[in-house]
Amino acid sequence: MSKSIRLDEPSPESGPVKIRVRWMERWHKSFHQLGIWAELTRNLAVRDVETRYKHSMLGLYWAIINPLVTAAIFGFVFGVIFHASSKPIPYVVFMLTGITFWNFFANGVMSAVGSISGNAALLAKIYFPRIVLPTASVLARFIDFMFSLLVLIVFIFIYHTPIYWSSLWIPVILVLQVFFTLGIGYLVAALNVLYRDVNQLVGLVLLVWMYFSPVMYPVTHLKPSLRSILLMNPMGSLLQMERDVIFTGHLQYPLFAWVALTWTVFVFFAGISLFRRIEPLFAEVM
């Protein structure tokens, strides 16, 4: 009687070298696959930006108009009516900085919410990792953000606001912000497939979140206890860091940078974890 063979059993000639080769093959395959999904993500992000502005009269100018109008309204209300101060930085510049970086986060999360539920047709036709969709949405908003950043730079020069070489740290802080936005984006995108109320809820939460973050007010004059609580909020901490490296040349509250870092890593992993857990249910629900 012949002995039954299990396919997963190692063959007699398999040794450490074979195992190493198999591992290398697996790594190579994984990187190749990752490259394909990265390209798909980039294409989807570019398509998102193109379709958003293609048929509008002002086109890409909308990416500039939005932060300008928001900053003008808030600047008028807080700067002119309530006499909010952000000395030594001109309030308009202070506000525009906050709004620019906050808008990237808020818009990224808002467009990630509907990224799965709004692409039901695409999901039914082709197989690709679903996580590509919220990632592409956030990246699309990052492209918008780059235009807003240009506006901010122009305003900084118009108001003759001194900036420091430490501004070169902005890309590093932005990487953290992108990962934090992605983490929240994955979370809400997956939950929105199960509960459509999430879409409405996220808008409300972001509104409250914005007021609890130092977007429109400086935290330097606040009581230390209140300031600590506000900087415990990772977005608050990230915004403070971004302003600090541009306008003060150093981090005023460096310990809170670690809070932002640890929450970013956690939120990113928690987002992926929840997304993967809910992903098998997408086909049933949609």
């Binding site: 230390p224 310990l255 809070v259 890593v265 992993f269 928690a270 992926i272 974890s273 993967r276």
Partner: protein, 467 residues
Amino acid sequence: MTESIWIRPQTEYRDEQYFGVGMWSRVFAYLAIVVSAQVLRWSLYVSHGFDLGFYQQALAAWVENGFQAQSTYFPGGILQHNGAWLMTLLAYPAAVFGTGFLFVTESLAVALGYIPIIKMAKIAKLPPSQAALLGVLYLLNPLVIAGNLYDFHMSVLAAPLLLWGMVSLLESKMVPFAGFLVLLTGMGNHVSLAAILLVTLALMMKGIKPLTLVGIVLVGLWILVLQHYLRTPIMSWMFPPKGQLQVHESLRVLLYGAWSVAPFVLTLFMFLKTRRLYLSPYWLLPLIGLAIHILSASPAQTSPFDQKSTLLVPFLIWPVIDTAKHLGMSWSKREHFMMKLALIGMLGVMTLDFYHSAWRVRPQNTQVLTEALGHVSNHDWVYAQNNVLPHLGITAQEIPLSRLKPKTIPPGAEIVWDTQFSDKTTPAFVYADVKNLLHSHDVRVIFQKSGVLVLQLRSHHAQNHGA
């Protein structure tokens, strides 16, 4: 004719179920929560910070003066005090990244201890859900959190190393086992007892084998180095001095014992529902450790919140895994829920206890203290209370107020004193000395507001006293 075959379902779990993204989210959740709590406590001046201050000074002193650097906290060289040679690796990154780096290093190290627990549970063939629960039992354990919430201690970093040592023991891998044992010694003399217990565990599990012998030789060498080269008083930490047992505190000691072992016994009860009895011999090791801790003459060592108690947790986790392995039963969803509830409740009780703890009273002068520190020079020696010390940053120029002796204060030194707050470790005569100094002409008041003072000694003070 087709023949139908029933294939017995085999419960085999994939690696992904143990070590997937879920595991990393739990590790980083712990990291984010604990680091936030550490930073919040630090920013509100709640941290006791005596040991954090010591480590900050030690790291800065090493960067400035090399390995022969002295400490103002304890007499003698820094390495002679605690023997934590691995701490030297932290010196340069800590000098660059500051106090936050120490908080994150400690919490990350503790959080990564979750991985070897999962690995041990997998080797014991426990399902992923039980493995995760055992991991949470470790992370939420009061002894683990208490060890790293307030302060920084090298000995806390030893907990994950102990767990990895146990993993290599289970896998009978001699080189990694010896490696982890060597790294363990780098965490200082306070982990010597844990190292001895690990080798005892190896003896119990494997008997006299090359792996065990290597362990015995390594630990023996380490104790020799501590005793004869570094001259660290290791035995006083490991064994209580005779005739000085704190028997009158027996109730507290009992409560401490119950507090430490309760979650593990609770887990054990889950298994005992099978009406089968299995008493793991490995309970012996944590009980030896616990007995040595609670019978110690040192009040700090008998405290349930002492950092050395963290090292008992791996030895408490292992008997639970061993019991689960032997009884091989699964928990129901309800039992799971109850267990999690008990763990969360434990965390809640602990938080309340910490909040009300008189030892760590929150000063009311947070804002004024921050202002006061703005007037402190970075170039002179600074005396400060324990909760203020961590705010001086990674600097060699700090001295705990409790170490103040009027005759030896360096000229130009500054004293930060919150008159409304006692850090419970500065003795009354030190405060009396500072008051005397205040009324003399030897000091200059740099800052004074709401009971917070920053004083600076005039440069001729030392010559006057010297004369």
